[in-house]
Amino acid sequence: MKIWTSEHIFHHPWETVTKAAMQKYPNPMNPSVIGVDVLDRGVDKQGRLHSKRLLSTEWGLPSIVKSIIGNSRTYTYVQEHSVVDPKEKTFELQSTNITFTNMVSVDEKLTYKPHPQDPEKTILTQEAIISVKGVSLSSYLEGVMASSISSNAGKGREAMEWVIRRLNAEIEELAATARGTIRTPMAAAVTEK
């Protein structure tokens, strides 16, 4: 069993990061995530939003392998449960693979919280527990998977920055359009005086 943890600071406020994390896929840094579905969602009595999601990922096996083992067998499915607490400002996600469970188990947990000293920043703490089953090289393979998770976590953070830039650009565009539509009646009102 291998445990991997990491901490990262985003230079964006918690609301921005949370909105981006909700819309993380698709993004160019994680091309292997090819499907995201919401299985269930609801607000609990404490006002927290719970979401259960299914992520479909494609390993990118060469097409000859796919033609032998069939297309659907190359997908890995991950189930994710997340909770957003808008009062406490926490966004916590937990995910686990639900296919190939007889071979490997990857459980991940991510928590986004405002930086305790700077409300314009957000801290992400990330943890993964990896177990490869029934193979004598398991601790070596677990090490390989941990470094893969580490490099993917780097891509994941880049992905978050990409989504944040895209959302900010959309807001800019909306604001520019709004300014354009307000300017005309305002100019008319001024000239009328």
């Binding site: 069993m1 609301e15 949370t18 909105k19 909700m22 819309q23 896929y25 698709p26 090819i34 499907g35 995201v36 579905d37 919401v38 299985l39 969602r41 607000v43 006002g47 939003l49 299914l54 479909s56 659907s72 499915y77 189930q79 449960h81 957003v84 808008p86 009062k87 937990q94 995910s95 686990t96 639900i98 296919t99 190939f100 469970t101 007889n102 188990s105 459980d107 947990k109 527990i129 177990s131």
Partner: protein, 74 residues
Amino acid sequence: MNSVGESCTDLKRDYDQCFNRWFAEKFLKGDRSEDPCTETFRKYQRCVQKAIKEKDIPVDGVEFMGPNKDKPES
């Protein structure tokens, strides 16, 4: 982004747009007004649940599996 069920992608897109708007403009701002997406969610869900059954994806209703819990064999 596609849905696990190819035919559900449009329904998913409608729901996602509705949800993202409500999430950013209401929920995160502490607005407790009613979720406007329940109808689109229902349509989307009907499609997705069918796709999951057809593809035999082992979704379960159990909470996050900690390191000590046994997973069912896939």
